[in-house]
Each structure stands twice: as C-alpha cells, then as structure tokens.
Symmetry: C2
Subunit: 216 residues, 2 copies
C-alpha cells in the first residue's frame, strides 16, 4: 500500500505529520512525500522544511492520497498541475483524504460536490461555497473521502482510517505506539468551547491563519 | 525568544512537530531546527526528512531547547557533540524540554539526576536507571525542565509551556488555531487503557519502537 502525502509552499506541518505518524505506521505500507518539485518545501511560517522525495509525476497512482492545508493552500487553488494530479490520483486510488484547508483543494478539484466534508473551523463557510456540505464533526467520511478539521485533527483522521483499512487492533497499536492519550491543559480547541475573546481574536486573524481574506 | 528544536538521524517526526506547532506560535518568537550538520535529517522510518537550517554551533544559546526522541536516540547517547551542546544550551537558556525518549538524552547529559521526569511509556524504566524519577503524568515540569510522554504528548507539553511563558489567553488561542479538540476513535493511548493484547504486542516490539533492546 502506497500513501502519498502532498506538500506545497506554505503548508502547515502538523497537517501532514499527523497522518504520517498514523497512516504511515500501517503494516506493509510505504509513505512518500510528493510535490511539484523534489527537495525541501517550506511550511507556513518558513521556519521548517519537509523534503519532497518524489515529484507528483513520479507517483501517479497511490492507494491513499493525503492533502494537508495551511495558509499556502490559497496559492494552489488555481494550480492545475496539482489539482489535475489530485483528480487523477483520486480516480486511481482507494482513499482520498485531507486535513484542515486541504479539503478546499479537494473541493477545487471537483471531488466534494454534494458530499459531507469538513475543514478548519474558520474555513467551513468557504467549503460550503465550493459545493460541499460541511458538518460539525472532527472527521467526516463520505464514500472514499475522509476529511478532517483543523491541523491536529489529522491524527484522529489517521487513526480512524487505519482502523478502516487494517482493523481496530492495528489502530489501537498505532495509538499506543504514539501514546496518543491527549490531555490538553485547556479546553479551547473548538470555537464552541474556547472563551469568546479567544474566538474573536482568531476570527479577526483568519486571513493570516488561513492565508486568505475574510469570507464575504 | 529563540526556540531551538534538535534533529538527529532516526528521530520521530511528531516529537519535533508537536512542539513546533505550539511553542513555534508564541508571539515574537523564532523557531530554528538545528543538527550537527545542516540539511535534511531522516526520521525513524526514513520516509520523511526535516531540514536542519542551522548547525548546533550556530545556535549556542536558545531560550528554549527542545529535544525529541525516537529510535535514533540510542545512537546519540554517547555523542558528546550533541550532549555537550545540550548541556551548554541548558545552562544558558530558560527552558529545557523533551518529548518521548528525548528525556533519555537530557538524562545522559546529566540534567535529570534526582528530577521528576517522564518519557515514552516503554522507556520509563530506562529513564529511572539514569537517575531521574519517572512519574505517571503526561507532562512533567521540574524547575526549568519540562518532559513529555510518548510522541503525541509534545502537543500537550507545548501548550502547557506556551501558557507558562505567555499566559492562558495565548495558549488557548494557539489551541484553537490548531483546532486541538482531540477525539481519538479509540481509547488505547496509554498502557493502562489499551487492551492487554495490544500492550503485549507493543512491549514485544519495543526494541523496534525505541531502537534498543528490551530493558533487563
């Protein structure tokens, strides 16, 4: 089983690394990081680079396609080289998944029309404008499409998909291996839970967080 | 504020990326990935590389030192170039933190003698042999040292430290930004919670997971 994780300038690192540390632990699987060009690809704040080991063209038909999000996603919405690859890989593969605003790229590729899906909480309105049906769930499965909410949700998504692919035992072994027994020191991880002033701050900064202007 | 995250061959990606996506969002901070040599550094399964942008020598006195773990940690326990840098950076800085078996490197550098600390659940006995006092907590603070349990715990550790450094409001904003509202599909993230046969499997494979032979 080949798992391809797509990188592009300005992606968010944890969007890619959450699925890598879960799906990437599937027995008899190979994970490959792909981008238009091989070499280092910088994250949203440019303080980190992950290496793309293969070009998109070199990995035409992975079994699982993982599309992360991040502020750089806006720069890819008209990138037909990337969107065309996503479309072709989706047609050939078994699972097409996204984390955070990666779902906007799946939507831009035409894959989420009329489908239940999710994205970063600040991007749900935009996801709807692309024809998807946003839900309030953290991980949404609709057919072969598994979309996850913001950034850290890729871990939950990855474990969910490991369970679907390899069963509960393997998924639990992966969870125990990465000691995923979350104990956040605050309960502010969703807009329904965070203090109102924290939510307001993040809304006011959404164009920096998501790399786009406010929804109109 | 300068945050240095150390890379070495065979580290576990999420050990480093969890702190990066939390501590790295501190206002007025700069995160820099460091290693003995600049360039790509491969993770435990070699399917991913993160770029070290600076050598250890180029970053002598960060405010926060972050030491990840992973199977490659065993190869660093006698690496005086790395351990000496950790010791000197610790003496100069404000916080010295680890994720997973990174705490064994702090212990090997002589920093955890008699201190409360933690590590990956499979490595707690080894941590004790190095003179630290393992606890059952997910994030342990003892003076300037903050150690975290396995792999994914670096997110909880990072949020905890963001709160200590910049206050609850900022920490909650970071949590909401990365939408860290964990909803794992299983409750198997700790050995006390996982099914016995899953725990037994992981114990039997600990030398592969931790990169060392079984504790004796």
């Amino acid at each position: 089983m080949q798992i391809a994780i797509v990188l592009f300038d300005g992606f968010t690192a944890l969007d890619a690394v959450g699925p890598y540390e879960t799906l990437g632990r599937l027995p008899d699987s190979e994970t490959v990081f792909v981008a238009e060009r091989t070499g280092p690809v910088r994250t949203d704040n440019a303080h980190l680079a992950l290496t793309a080991d293969r070009t998109l063209a070199e990995v035409p038909s992975p079994d699982v396609v993982v599309v992360p999000g991040g502020p750089g996603q806006t720069g890819q919405m008209d990138n037909e080289a990337l969107l065309g690859w996503i479309r072709a890989a989706d047609a050939a593969g078994t699972w097409t998944v996204s984390v955070c605003t990666g779902s906007l790229l799946l939507a831009a590729a035409g894959l989420l029309e009329g489908r239940r899906a999710t994205s970063h909480w600040l991007a749900l309105d935009e996801l709807k404008r692309f024809g998807a049906e946003p839900t309030g769930e953290r991980v949404v499965t609709d057919g072969k499409y598994v979309t996850a909410a913001g950034v850290s949700s890729g871990i939950d998504m990855g474990l969910t998909l490991v369970g679907r692919i390899a069963g509960d035992f393997v998924a639990q072994a992966v969870q125990l291996g990465i000691e995923y027994d979350p104990q956040p020191p605050y309960d502010a991880g969703a807009p329904q839970k965070a203090p109102a002033d924290v939510v307001e701050l993040m809304r006011s900064r959404s164009r920096f967080i998501l790399g786009r202007e406010e929804p109109r």
